[in-house]
Symmetry: C3
Subunit: 484 residues, 3 copies
Amino acid sequence: MSSGENYTAEIIELRREIEQIRQDFADNDNAFFLCSMALVIFFMQCGFAFLEAGAVRSKNTTNILIKNLLDSCISVIGYWSLGWAFAFGDSSNKVVGLFIGHSQFFLSGLINYPMFFYQYAFAATSATIVSGAVAERCEFANYIVYSTLISTVVYPILTHWGWHKEGWMYRGIQTSDIHTTYMDFAGAGIVHLCGGIISLAGAYIIGPRIGRFSKDGNEDPLEIKGHSVPFVALGGFILMFGFLAFNGGSMADIVQPGEGEIVALAMVNTILCGAFAALTFLIIHYLTKGKWTLLLTINACLTGMVSSCAGCNNMEPWASSFTGIGAGLVYLGLSNLLIKMKVDDPLDAFAVHGGGGLWGMLSACIITRKGVAYAIANAIGNNNGLLLCSQAFAQLGWQMICVLAIITWSLLWMIPIFLFLKKIGKLRVAPEIEINGLDIYKHGEAAYPLHAYGHGWDDYEPIKEKSLQNYGKLNSNTESDPQC
Amino acid sequence: MSSGENYTAEIIELRREIEQIRQDFADNDNAFFLCSMALVIFFMQCGFAFLEAGAVRSKNTTNILIKNLLDSCISVIGYWSLGWAFAFGDSSNKVVGLFIGHSQFFLSGLINYPMFFYQYAFAATSATIVSGAVAERCEFANYIVYSTLISTVVYPILTHWGWHKEGWMYRGIQTSDIHTTYMDFAGAGIVHLCGGIISLAGAYIIGPRIGRFSKDGNEDPLEIKGHSVPFVALGGFILMFGFLAFNGGSMADIVQPGEGEIVALAMVNTILCGAFAALTFLIIHYLTKGKWTLLLTINACLTGMVSSCAGCNNMEPWASSFTGIGAGLVYLGLSNLLIKMKVDDPLDAFAVHGGGGLWGMLSACIITRKGVAYAIANAIGNNNGLLLCSQAFAQLGWQMICVLAIITWSLLWMIPIFLFLKKIGKLRVAPEIEINGLDIYKHGEAAYPLHAYGHGWDDYEPIKEKSLQNYGKLNSNTESDPQC
Amino acid sequence: MSSGENYTAEIIELRREIEQIRQDFADNDNAFFLCSMALVIFFMQCGFAFLEAGAVRSKNTTNILIKNLLDSCISVIGYWSLGWAFAFGDSSNKVVGLFIGHSQFFLSGLINYPMFFYQYAFAATSATIVSGAVAERCEFANYIVYSTLISTVVYPILTHWGWHKEGWMYRGIQTSDIHTTYMDFAGAGIVHLCGGIISLAGAYIIGPRIGRFSKDGNEDPLEIKGHSVPFVALGGFILMFGFLAFNGGSMADIVQPGEGEIVALAMVNTILCGAFAALTFLIIHYLTKGKWTLLLTINACLTGMVSSCAGCNNMEPWASSFTGIGAGLVYLGLSNLLIKMKVDDPLDAFAVHGGGGLWGMLSACIITRKGVAYAIANAIGNNNGLLLCSQAFAQLGWQMICVLAIITWSLLWMIPIFLFLKKIGKLRVAPEIEINGLDIYKHGEAAYPLHAYGHGWDDYEPIKEKSLQNYGKLNSNTESDPQC
């Protein structure tokens, strides 16, 4: 009898121990996973900085770099003080809770720091997208205002709608037959569409750079080239690297059975979507223009990766080919459309993030598992085909409502802000400053100070020059040297 | 009785639970490990891009960058569609299975996405090595053809031979006394020797850049300098960072007891080999040439890291000093040999990857545990010394057979391809394009467009100039400024 | 009876199995955590390289890059051979063990490779800090000597004092009421204060760069600008990325309950401190100078991150605002002080690492949990308030003793070395070399060789020029182009 009690007690104790081990490892593994993915996502700030720095003229390089540095700084303070509370704080009121959280301001009472760090990395990304669209002419005050607002209010509340269990987009429409929710694994809508549409509004309201479009409209628009293709490529590579963590990390958990596989699937789909978008665009560009463009191919690749955000966890790799090819076409169409509309978006932030995000949101309801395409295929000769289809179309419908809500919300905040700043003269720098460059006037720091160049070994290079003459013309025209 | 049954059932249930926890954590931990290492390896594409971009002239910078971008894109599509199936697909036929896999095309039926993502990152690396050897003169079509072929066919089949449990190199010769296998932890042979030997073939067949060697052979070869030492260094640092993940991650598992320690040992050996190779080379170079070269030291360091690939999991740290010093000498010898042979390999891709890979393959059978050196040391005054030695030498012999197989296979594919492309005029660009530069003609994108430079604050720099005069000559010769 | 024995045996066996699983996962998880954090910390070498490369003139760029490359190489050999043994080797003698370890030379007998790899990454960081302070004029021999010494002797012994369980700083003063120890989670004192104070000594003894300060002292000091703001920003972003791993990884363990949360808390505090320091400095600079400086804001941000090192694991996020704002002010004060003292520290290595480290060491005893501020707050109307306060002040006192010990130890080693090198003429390059630049003379490699620039498509850029004229003056003054 007593031994029976002992066994019972020991078995209960063992079970408790096992549960404890599971819990401890689960907590630590998740923390490690979130922190390391967030680290890589944080590094995307460097990617954006160089993508944009390479795409502007040398006279505005310091200006765009400091914007990207401050993004990280401003958004951590904004997200720590208010943003997290709006996004993931609970609400005591159920109706209010559909729209906004309001607890854990300044992280008071927070335990789950890994999740905060991860979500902060996302918030910083959403704030950083816009700077490309208003580059080379944006007032510093404008930049600080919109960066603060997006990371503190606009983006956090969207995440509450879509990713908090009480949010209205997340809860969706629930009937006995139909269950809809917000389907956006890694923020195609919340992060990229939000940032992209604000970019469009910003670029439109601030107006094109001086010289970009002629006044009478008879001439072709002038392509204003950035000063460093390698910097654009550096930024592009860092962003590709970061996107894999951005999408894979959105699992936000790596403990339940099968979650590791989904993380990897998300990463594979991300790179596949990027690759298909890049090659689609490159081939069309080559066939129409005869050149193998690097700069636009990078943008197309990023559009593909953005478009994979919504459904990369839930999509067979072959479906990535559709998503990716679509993204390449979307980028091609939107970037040309903006030029036709005479909207000057130097980084194509709208085409990449807005277009990619929108297309990703739709495709996530079409060619992912249980999507519209699957439902139609299954419906043929199937008893409950109608039910499958109505569920799939209802989901697609709800997704479109969410898309409209994201666009509306973002614009409702930002258009008045931009117009107000325009009215008080804090939207755009004066023409003289724009023409002469922002770096020296605003920051006192030329990106490449003249006096920092040159060396005194006069007889070093001429020696080479002499030996070069023996081999024919290598650099005949030093006058038109692109570097000088 | 009934309580006894209960205890038995409960204990069985507990055991099942424990096993389930072990399995779940193992799967997720491995997935997380593979994905995060693959992420860093993927970033090596950025490293190769900048190592190469800095080492070419500014007129070919966009060209080399787009090659590296497309590597990632082409190889993910090639490896997803065919490569993985050839490499890690099973074969129903045992004889066929020795040489090639043929299932899971387009990843159909695949569950282990983490492993696919990891192996893709390797495939992309193998494809990217060659571009350095044919830089500044390679036709775009040539590049697309070889990149596709390597990542889709040549490299995957080699991995099947060496890393799939049915592959002939992996199975090796098995007798009662002797057990040989393919000893290559992280791909010194499969990845680097393969890429390096194809680089040699490519550089030889395509011929040297115009001006590199004089026709009569009386003059010294002309060193054609790359346009940016900092970019080379950036690439080198990123590659060092990536190599640590490349070699550590090759454990491909982090669950069994002791695996974590091996991962760390591999990383430690990698950095030690790189350090010894770099310092060995640098000291010799300083003693013979009187200069502390950065560019060649970076290459030597990378050669050391390549050479550690084969045995870094199985080598005491002190043995890394031998492997590293050897790698420094191998790099020194091979890079000079190629110049003597008038083969123009702008990035020393053959010396770094081919030489490092070959030396790594051999050293892995010599100074790793159970290697030839250990066997000889143990054989002295030992009863079964002969057996130890015969095993060690048999392994070395088998390793050399594998090396020959890798070289032969790689060349059998690529030499005909290169010759065919040469015949149809798609191997190399026309001399006029080569002399004037590929960027503008092929891509329409100068790396540093002239008009993107300069600012309008005329009175900004002269102020400085004035104050400079008070301190003497700092930059007296603005005419021979290297930047202009 | 027999079934009772069976149950007992089975339960014991189950318990053993559970313990085994816990141990295996713990070992592997910790290894994975340490290796991946060390990877990112290793990448900080690239960050330092570019922060420094961008801040020097183009004629000294190769020189500073090779220094940073060799740091990684020299310190791995030094730390492997001696450093680890001094730092974490045990001592058989208790008194000797207070000051230095002396076992596991050349890692003989080492099992815990993950910890070695992690600690090596730290050692490499401590050695790399100094190169910024002596940039543009330091003899190569000097660099090799101090880099070897710091990573092999000076830094390892400090870590023994503070982080080895036998070290005297770690053991602290223990009475019945008061328990003091060395409170420095991630090396604010051991790594940064050590590196920073050596930087000050180095910069002072080597003297200012030619032209930095006028001889009669009547004129303002001449700001010698670095050649590339984007490179400084690249380095800054990489260092911010690395710092998160540097501080989070200092948990050095991710298995015990709650450790994952502390890792994330450390990362959050790191970025918050950086952000507050950056914004504090930027606002003061703007109010006093009227410019939004990027370069100094990056330094301020790094100072904030350095200052978070000591207490980031133990500090509420709101307390980071104090630490960060303080760090911004410390940086502002010290960087100006050094200019007043006519000490030329081109990278502000002392202000960033020395100032940030010192402030971090103090603030860790003031506003972290159980710090002086908490103790005083708790003491009001509390019975054992006096005890709390005396503990907190005793800890602060001990911390100041440790700070003094670190400074004294570092200077006692390095001042004689620097003076000796000065005496034998191996401290500083000759004035002619300094004026003409180190790259070509010392390394034979100009950072941007003139002949590597330019292309032959004469008619490409003029076409653009024509269309530009229609839009007004964009780059009127090509003569004063900063790039030429």
